[in-house]
């Protein structure tokens, strides 16, 4: 299982999903209408490293984080 957590203002509890790549995860998350706009503007981290390759394989135990637009300071 892969754990998916939603950071900052995304008001959603973490999910445990059986997916083997970010591509598959993308399809799974599109089923949640409340995530629709967040998927378009959020960055993605796998085990706390920002990733940019959607074909990346995921292993059981991996932790994926969605990071919506930021504004520190």
């Amino acid at each position: 299982m892969v754990t998916v957590e939603f950071l900052g203002p995304i008001n959603m509890d973490r999910l445990e999903l059986k997916v083997e790549s970010l591509n598959e995860l993308s399809e799974e998350l599109k089923r949640y209408s409340e995530l629709n706009s967040w998927l378009k503007n959020s960055a993605v981290a796998v085990n706390d490293e920002i990733v940019t390759d959607k074909s990346l394989a995921l292993s059981s135990g991996d932790r994926v984080s969605l990071l919506p637009p930021v504004c520190g300071g």
Binding site: P9, L39, K40, N41, S42, L67, P68, C71, G73
Partner: protein, 146 residues
Amino acid sequence: MSLELYKGSLNVSEILDRWYSDTKNSNYGAYIPFIGTVRDESGIDGLSFDIYRPILEKWFSKWQERAKELGAEVRMAHSEGDVLLHESSYISAVFSPKRRVALELIDEFVEDFKANAPIWKYDLKNGERLYAEDRSTAINGSGLLS
């Protein structure tokens, strides 16, 4: 690590003084701080912040390495939770042997901080905590899962 996170507003003078004392014998010719203070605007009572520490620490480590290559040092302090009007939520500083390096580095550092540090800002207004979406910036590479 020279990354300090505090609940609530920062004690600006304590932090700046301590950083000065820590570094004054390190032969840096320049100490350039940037202090972010909450402004009274749009009827807000203050700001509030969420931070995701693991990625913030990695982001900051890369900047420390970058500064070290230039013979300089970066430090940063930030608030978590609520910070009221005219209090400060953010300090960053560059220490460098050379003024030009310090001036350029503080500019690049603060701009990258605004664009990529995993911190989320909320307006405190009428008893609510409202995500400051219109002032927020999508991190490089956003939209990967859309």
